[in-house]
């Protein structure tokens, strides 16, 4: 079958510089490696999980090919910035190797922990919101930014429990990490919505408390609603389309932060690539619409 002719697409120019534009991007997972390298879809940028491209072999060859045509953002899940113990040195070295190879436009990690006593718990676990935890996270963010020689974005988590001894509201904790270390914030709008529902917080107030200038990226994803013994818990499983309440909160975020690179994340029950393109166009349309609103507001 003849390959379709490929028009020039905006990502090609961005790829040269590697910077992530204030447009919609897609979280790239292995099942879509081929369709992306073969059809070069019209999308501004991709984000990948750093941990999926450690080692060698085929995944790296795909990533090299995709990086040639698109800016890439690296999103880590394993550094465990909130571990009371030291950051795992070999893991930080592996992250640095991927960064050197990919020359990403953005690098992000989570406000959470996964490692204790040398065991990796394969999940993004919640931190007690204490002064001690804040010191630990800031020390580790400083260390990572030093080793990578780059600014890191730190993502607000979704969570299903709160510790009794927490003393700092999460939005203040996130803002303090950015303020003290100079890192940016990856504002996961779905996570804010999920945690706000699970803990009875005000999602709009959370958004309003974040420092506008520190926001470097937005994440959008789907979640599920689970009934446990008559109670509702929202689970951040990245396995469906972005819900209407999260789109609404996204519009609030754009109204506050202006246009920000926005990622569609989908990790379980990964759909056809077209579905992700469709979600990304909705994010793009929302960004364009909100820019219009913003201009109107200023003209009025």
């Amino acid at each position: 079958m003849a390959r379709p002719s490929i028009p020039p697409w905006p990502a090609a120019q961005q790829a040269e510089r590697g910077s992530i534009p204030a447009h919609a991007g897609i979280g790239l997972r292995f099942p879509h490696h081929r369709i992306v390298t073969e059809t070069r879809p019209d999308i501004a940028w991709f984000e990948v999980h750093t941990e999926n491209y450690m080692g060698g072999g085929m995944p790296l060859r795909y990533l090299d090919a995709i990086r040639h045509d698109y800016p890439i953002s690296l999103h880590g899940v394993g550094l465990s910035l909130g571990s009371a113990e030291a950051i795992e040195g070999p893991h930080l070295s592996r992250v640095r190797d991927v960064v050197t190879r990919v020359e990403p436009g953005l690098i992000s990690e989570h406000l959470s922990w996964s490692v204790v006593g040398g065991a990796y718990l394969a999940d993004l676990l919640p931190l007690p919101m204490t002064e001690e935890a804040l010191d630990v996270v800031c020390r580790h963010v400083d260390q990572v930014q030093d080793v990578l020689g780059r600014r890191l974005l730190v993502e607000n988590p979704s969570s299903y429990l709160q510790f009794k001894h927490s003393t700092i509201p999460e939005w203040e904790f996130v803002s303090a990490v950015a303020g003290r270390t100079g890192c940016g914030i990856l504002c996961d709008v779905n996570n804010i919505y999920v945690s706000a529902c699970n803990h009875g917080w005000d999602a709009s107030a959370y958004l309003a408390a974040l420092p506008k200038d520190a926001i470097g990226e937005i994440h959008l994803a789907g979640h599920t609603v689970k009934e446990i013994g008559g109670c509702t818990l929202r689970i951040d499983d990245h396995g469906s389309r972005v819900g209407p309440e999260v789109w609404a909160l996204y519009r609030e975020a754009l109204a506050r932060f202006g246009p920000v690179p926005t990622l569609i994340e989908w990790d379980t029950n990964i759909p056809a690539f077209e579905v992700l393109l469709d979600e990304a166009s909705q994010a793009e349309r929302t960004m364009t619409y909100m820019q219009g609103e913003h201009a109107d507001a200023h003209a009025a």
């Binding site: 080692g55 009371a84 795992e88 006593g117 065991a119 001690e132 935890a133 299903y160 510790f163 013994g229």
Partner: protein, 266 residues
């Protein structure tokens, strides 16, 4: 007030060991109890590690069925949580676990199929390193054989298996039941070479003499010792084949304190 380390140790016990007592004392419960909230994290821990094992052991999974596999995986995960956030390296011990797992005792070849799958997994994800080039090979020719140690490519694996695991592995992955039914389980042992080539991961059967020579070289023996211990007639031909296939990435001399990457060998 518990320190951060106290909290994380309590969470580890709740999530990895299902001992929730200490963690529940630190967690706010309301309509949903602390234990129910902890269960969400416990479930994610087990399901994401089970998913990692499924990816590395597809043939074992088909041999035992999904339900049995998930049950065995959960027992393994409870005993051996990962030591690193690099999950491609998780599950090396699963074949040995299966060998001693009483419910799998009726499938004596299962652990061998698992060992072969682990070697394939290592080869898939091994670092990209350049093989010895012509100039380096020329310089090796001047080194005395009793001081020369070759460094294998990290994708190379040399499983020696008691059962005809390769045939079982190929038949299971091809879903070829007729091939599977003709396998004579009494044959074996088998000596295999697993490596990543430009075409992907390849598994090739070796003779015992070929395998012993390759295993000796890859274990960091000097070339002279490898030749002496495995005195086949065609040993230099085998060496030339290995070098031409790019299976070695460097060399060192016996006095060098550099260590070769040997951890992939079983």
């Amino acid at each position: 007030m518990p320190t951060l380390l106290d909290t994380q140790r309590a969470m580890f016990r709740a999530v990895a060991l299902r001992e929730q007592d200490e963690a529940t004392k630190q967690i706010r419960g309301d309509a949903l109890s602390a234990a129910e909230r902890l269960d969400v994290y416990r479930n994610t821990f087990v399901s994401s590690l089970t998913a990692a094992l499924r990816i590395s052991y597809p043939a074992v999974r088909r041999l035992v069925g999904e339900q049995f596999f998930d049950g065995a995986a959960q027992c393994f995960i409870d005993g051996y949580p990962p030591q690193s956030a690099y999950l491609n390296s998780y599950g090396a011990g699963f074949p040995d676990f299966l060998r001693k797992f009483p419910p799998a005792a009726s499938l004596p070849y299962l652990a061998d199929v698992g060992r072969l799958e682990w070697a394939v997994n290592v080869a898939l994800h091994a670092e990209d390193l350049n093989s010895l080039d012509a100039d380096t090979l020329a310089s090796i020719a001047k080194v005395p054989l009793d001081r020369l140690i070759l460094m294998p490519h990290p994708s190379i694996g040399l499983p020696r298996l008691d059962h005809p695991a390769e045939a079982i592995w190929r038949a299971v992955l091809a879903e070829d039941d007729s091939a599977l039914s003709t396998i004579d389980l009494s044959t074996g042992p088998e000596w295999l070479l697993v490596e990543r080539t430009a075409n992907g991961v390849e598994v090739s059967p070796l003779t015992e003499v070929e395998w012993r020579f390759a295993a000796s070289l890859c274990a960091g023996e000097t070339l002279a010792n490898s030749i002496a211990a495995n005195a086949g007639d065609n040993v230099f031909f085998l060496l030339a084949q290995h070098l031409a296939a790019g299976r070695f990435i460097g060399f060192r001399l016996t006095e060098d304190r550099l260590s070769a990457p040997l951890e992939n060998f079983s």
